[in-house]
Amino acid sequence: MKGLPPVLITAIVLVAGFAACAVQFPNIASTRVVGNLLTDNAFLGIVATGMTFVIISGGIDLSVGSVIGFTTVFVALAIERWGVPPLVAVVAILALSAAFGAAMGTVIHVFDLPPFIVTLAGMFLARGASFLLSTESVPITAPIYSTVSDFALRMPAGGRLTAIAIIMLAIVIGGALLLHLTRFGANVYALGGSRTTASLMGVAVGKMTIKIYMLSSLLAGIAGIVFSFYTSAGYSLSAVGVELDTIAAVVIGGTLLTGGQGSVIGTFLGVLIQGLIQTYINFDGTLSSWWTKIATGVLLFAFIALQQGLVVLARRTVRKSAGAAT
């Protein structure tokens, strides 16, 4: 990489945005708001970590939102209606979502179909399956749920680092280590760079594809469990459209949709930028529901344009310094 790495650009954008928000609303710069930011976006951070792997490998996974929806309904029904112990229900749904991802990866690899469409079919399938389970919201009253959602580490100045925020941070760190330090991670980059080259260099392309989609669906399953902790209910319509928020977070984080480039840390920053936009709108409080949507769009544009501008600027300075050297 020449010039500023995209992660750094995203970080600059985040800090600048946070500073701008803090100037207007000084209360934003408190551990309480930051803690809430992490809690509210915990499920997004978890899915986005998985999505980063998929997108770096040159694919895309549109099914994650539906998998989250299915997970919440399945867990709620298993615990409340079928009398399954919560731990067993969680293990079962994680196994199920991993198998679902593996199946999508298999179809993509064996039949050489575009991931966009295969995972779109997966999105319909998972959402349809959750409709079949139940079309109404099922509240979860198991005691472990209130224990987990009430658990929080106290931060200085009254902020709370909740259990689900901790789970998210652990997964982001684990994901970053897996992507940047292991052979698996190196193979993910190789796949995204060029499938043919990767295969010639001895990467088992088929196995990798299956594993990557398995990882993404597994993380979507974990995100679904976190989401059910967050709302204490299972609902088949929950997390509709989350796949697009996730893709936006990954791309804002500097990962290229063409594959081969990106990082988990960047994605995490992208999630925080999206969370910051929501927090800003909540703080403002005067925006009606339609102005909220327009503002989200405008801010999304501002962040991406700023990033694009910084990329161009970085390239120019590199060229200039190269010119000076010769």
Partner: protein
Amino acid sequence: MTALLPRRGLAQILALIVILAVDRVVSPQFFDLRLQDGRLFGSLIDVLNRGTPVALLSLGMVLVIATRGIDLSVGAVMAICGAIAASLADGHGLPVVLAATLGAGLVCGLWNGFLVAVLGMQPIVATLILMVAGRGIAQLITEGRIVTFSSPDLVWLGNGSVLGLPVPIVIALGMLILTGAVVRGSALGLLIEATGGNARASELAGVGTRAMILAVYVWCGVCAALAGVIAAADIMGADANNAGLWLELDAILAVVIGGTSLFGGRFSLVLAVLGALIIQTMNTGILLSGYPPEFNLLVKAVVVLAVLLLQSPKFSGLAGIAARLRRTKA
């Protein structure tokens, strides 16, 4: 045989025939047509009529996808244009309404095209911006209410008939012919395919790739605007929350079922529209079968996978190997 059936559209035509046959089984009156008050009625006409919005969207979408782009905002553009049409309909004539809505669609397309072609954003994110903001703009126009209208001109656009055919079908057919004439009657289609195949090489060869990309997004916006007007005229009102919701996915699906690769390059307008019809035939069939609507998405997923597998070269390769094995065994 090859003279009668084009090689490229075989999988799609077969899929449509199979789904039609299934529809005939679940609803014996499926192929009945009758003429009443100078207009044809029947399930087949219904499929065409209901399929119009997605067919129009897929006409624009197929060109965008051919340049290796994607437009996620078409559903939101439909909502904006439906809202504009509904708010103007009772005070203004049809020409003003159409000019305003198509103009709005054009501006939306220009915005998307500007982000992709000039600012160089990735299409999926660039159009995501309008997808999010557009629904807000539509709600702003209707002030969050469902705006109804009674202008007979606009209602005719959704419910009238020309030569026995419902107007939406005629409009969609007209747009298909117009788009086909423009892109295939000139070198434009080839230049679009070149842009999608390899933008850099085409640029070096003298193709105005930026202009091409801008043009396809504009056309996609105009098609979405028409779809939005028809959807609003059909229900005599505009619902900013639900008009065109998730139709962008159906449109993309239609294009892919029509055999156009998401990685750009070769495209087919007719097959994209055929893809839209396949989706609608399926939806109507599920409705007629009386299954609870919860099954819709499941059936859709299975059919989509089946059509894709039929098209997959690997799949026909496997089938060929299996046939050869059987022959050697016998």
